[in-house]
């Protein structure tokens, strides 16, 4: 372990305390009892005539999810323990804190625990406070299932959250925000490669074993099994292997325009990510697919895991406009 923490069972609480202190110009703790110290709000949450945008999931993926709460992006994050869904009560509290009469949207990666607990939060918001809460699940990881609704959400979360946050900021109603988020998810596909396991503070070591020099193509951000383990290949060969299933899946075809996200899983440095992006751009150019814009960096991580993922979102005019809309959060600001 090459990690810095105190009592491993306090790491999430101490992270949240540090986070809210460091980024106080953007966020604050939710003071509802049901929040249980696990809901962080944008400073203006619940004060505007807009749909409340609520994201969340297990910790350990920072900047996802907490990093994207702020102005004109997400209004609240619900925070679970490391690699663990948040509890239902904080999900409920987030809805209560963010609703201003237009309802709320829950957005998160498709994992069974998250679905169960966010759904319970939505039910309670409906029953106790008559708040309408809708959900859009992110399902961008192409190798996690052949059946799209069964797929897991990984770095594509970022695109879906950004689109929904920007749509809500226009004052759109809940059905419109849901439709925009659903369109973003429908047009987004990702796939990754892992070269090491993350380490778990409470376990004092790695989640799974991987020999130094090995990689696993298609591995999930919690270490879910991928499709092939082997020796680490050249960046270009790895990107070729990742891009093929992504492109085929939607499919992305000649004439399409895409937003690209080359994401670090944690320990893979920007120098390597840009070498990878170079090959992504070459492949897209060969296929006649235009890159509208690209983001390269740590967006959806797995703590200190070495690895990366590629995400493409096929764009139309609405998605471009929503991706380009200004926002201001601790880990993503756009003028």
């Amino acid at each position: 372990m090459k990690r810095l923490f105190n009592d491993p069972y306090d790491i999430v609480e101490e992270m949240v305390e540090g986070y809210v202190g460091a980024h106080k110009q953007y966020v604050k703790m939710c003071d509802l009892d049901e929040a249980q110290g696990r809901v962080v709000l944008a400073n203006d949450a619940g004060t505007k005539d807009k749909v409340g945008v609520i994201i969340g999931g297990g910790s350990g993926h920072e900047p996802l999810f907490i990093g994207y709460v702020g102005e004109d992006f997400a209004d609240a994050v619900v925070i679970g323990n490391i690699n663990t869904s948040p509890s239902p009560d904080p999900c409920y509290a987030a809805a209560k804190a963010c609703d201003n009469g237009k309802g709320c949207i829950y957005l998160y990666g498709n994992y069974a625990g998250d679905v169960m607990n966010f759904d319970m939060g939505a039910e309670k918001a409906d029953e106790e406070d008559d708040i309408r809460v809708e959900t859009v699940l992110v399902t961008d990881d192409v190798v996690s299932s052949e059946n799209i609704p069964d797929r897991r959400g990984i770095a594509g979360d970022f695109f879906v959250f950004k689109v929904a946050g920007a749509k809500a900021a226009t004052g759109a109603d809940l059905d419109e925000v849901v439709a925009a988020a659903q369109k973003a998810n429908d047009n987004t596909r990702s796939m990754g490669v892992a070269m090491s396991s993350a380490t778990l503070p409470a376990k004092g070591g790695t989640i799974f074993d991987m020999e130094d020099g090995d990689m696993e193509i298609g591995m999930g951000i919690h270490g879910e099994p991928g499709i092939r383990r082997g020796k680490i290949d050249t960046a270009d060969n790895v990107i070729d292997e990742i891009m093929e299933p992504i492109l085929k899946d939607l499919p992305y075809v000649e004439g399409d325009e895409v937003y690209v996200l080359v994401n670090s899983l944690g320990a893979t440095p920007l120098i390597d990510l840009h070498v990878c992006y170079r090959r992504v751009a070459q492949i897209l150019e060969e296929k006649g697919i235009k890159v509208y814009k690209a983001l390269v960096g740590p967006f959806a991580c797995s703590m200190d895991m070495a690895g990366m993922s590629v995400t493409l979102m096929k764009l139309d005019d609405e998605l471009k406009e929503l991706m380009d809309a200004p926002c201001d959060t601790p880990y993503f600001t756009q003028k």
Copy 2:
């Protein structure tokens, strides 16, 4: 090695190619022959009535330096090989490309190779094109020498570059930009801890040996020796050990106001950095030092090195205003 690249001798060229492609709305290659493919310019470099702000150094520290070239921050970056100073000709080319009659400022961390080559670039700019180039060296690493001018520059680079970029954007003359950058450096102190070595693609392994579970307090971002090696301690104890020499050095005292940067050296995740920030904030509060704002994340890295550093900059009204000034670059945007 858990890295992704192709031919290790092409990694910097391929990174630059990927970078300029990914972030084309911000930057472009400098097309002067002397740039040798190692100068990246802000799209508006040399077009405004302002001092040209030129940063640079070896590769492998991304987002430093290349990530901070854009609008109202740096106008150009000069790029060396991994952990190696750029050559004199690209330093010269950057000045030629950025000068618009007001001269240029070179800003970089204080390392012998960088000083030699940037100085040769400045001399050539003076002799061949009559461009005045001044230099401010960043010397924030408190443990690197007792003598301040001999100290190395680490994450404090970010603050000095930001202040200089914002000052230049006001249309200030070269002496004023130099004075602002010098003031930023004079008020900035850093110290770090490493828990692993970075890996070097061309070497196929680590720069130095470190046992899993060990840390070295005060280690530099290229693996320069620190002051103590031992077992990794709790985050709070590590921060206590780092903060003491930082606070004593300036010194930072009751009533001061500071900008805090908690920086990842690469593989240390945001969850750990925020646990560390929590303790930094506690110590500052105990001492009666006010946190104006804080940044937490990867700013000055050493590829996949595990570790982090703390930087404090003591603020006055001018430094606050310059730190708060809007800017727009691939890795730091402020509204």
